[in-house]
Amino acid sequence: MKRIVTLLLVSFFSALQAQNIDPDLLRVKQRLDSIQQFSADLKLDVDINFIHMPTKYAKMNYSQGKPVKFSSTDFVMIPKRGLDFSMNRLFEYAFITVPRGEETRKGVRYKAVNIIPTDKRADFSIALVLLDIPNNRVAETEINTKKDGTYNLILNYEKKTSLLPNLVEVGFEIEKLKIPLNFMGKDTDIDRKKMRAEGMKTGKIFLAISNYLIKHL
């Protein structure tokens, strides 16, 4: 008898949970979950007004359930949230979704869904996901992290059937530092609080991804 009650309760709560998750988002998640691993070549261009950096190249390797690995022959800056194409970190802990109607980008209409984590361990407080329903994939995300500000990802795909993007625009917030011109000698002792007086700036990174090697489950 106890087993039956437990089973009923589990089924009830599972059903309740399922009701709180958008079915279109679930379909996209299932499609992304089918990727076991992939590797790709990256081309990175930084657009931050106080940083000058030439175009950088790197290689990325993703395996499901593991952090993305990067390798490069020279120095590269990889945006922390910009390369989570599999949306692993959004779906890592329990969450509910709230429909937000539709939004239009460049004349194309997308379904807007808010993802709200119900587990305190999640590193974001709320995320907005724009879903490309006909092609069953993510078109844009805006993630409000608990510690690292807001990230905005615009994903562009090569083909209608592509699951992973070939061009990604990552927008983020970043603090501007004021550092003395001559940072040798005594000038090295810097008051960091004073340096942060200018507050937050926004920056962008443009990623071009090519030569995907995808292994599905």
Binding site: H52, F70, F75, I179, M184, G203
Partner: protein, 276 residues
Amino acid sequence: MKALIKAEIYKLVRQSKTYYALASLFMIEAIILFSAYFQGKNILDILLDNLKKSFYFEGSLLNGNLLVYLILNTLWFHLPLILMIIVSGTLTTEYKDRTIQTTMLQPVVKWKFILSKYLVAIGFTLLVVLFLALTSFALSYGLFGKGDLIVYINTLNFFEAKDAFLRLLYAFLWGALSMVFFSVASLTIAVIFKEATKTWIVAALFLVISNLLLKVDFGNAVFNQLFFAKLNDTWQSFFYYRIDWATVYLNSILLLAYIGLFMGLGIWLFHKKDIG
């Protein structure tokens, strides 16, 4: 003239203080390199602090190029000090040992004699900078390898290893011109003061004041551009993301003019004064 230059080179090569100076410069360079390695970690931490929140970093910025850049930052104060002591010493020693009087008893034209000293001083300065450039690159690349260079000048500038090497090379070239200026100035000071200690004190004062005035804004754009003390920082121009070549050329011409002016003044004074 050739004979005079040869004689000056011979004197410079034969005197033991030349080698003491070279050894001390190499020692200073090694100490700077050692301290720059530890300072480099701190500097990178400061420069990349706010970026760490948003980015993962792949590759190391604590490499030979950063260390050569840090060496340059310190070297341009210590190097002229030692150069000024050696270069001015080539004349003050002659006054002290009275060898100048012996030389002047020979059929030697006074202005040619002092000009040969200036020319040898310039050649010696260029050789020392070449020696320091070679050892800086060899030590830094040998111990810490190559890699991207990060420099903060109004903006955070990243340079790829090849580009960084070229910019550091330009900085050494321009630094050499700046060092020639200080060497020439010290010889002119030696012409005026004759006595070694007085010359060294005034030469050191000249260097310190030049360095202090470098950071002073005189509130006049033309004066800020033309004043000699303001020119010695031009080597930093090579670490802006886009090099302002027009300013580099203008400053080079101006510094060459100052070198000519100091040299001319020294030759004129030496020619006019009695050897006594």
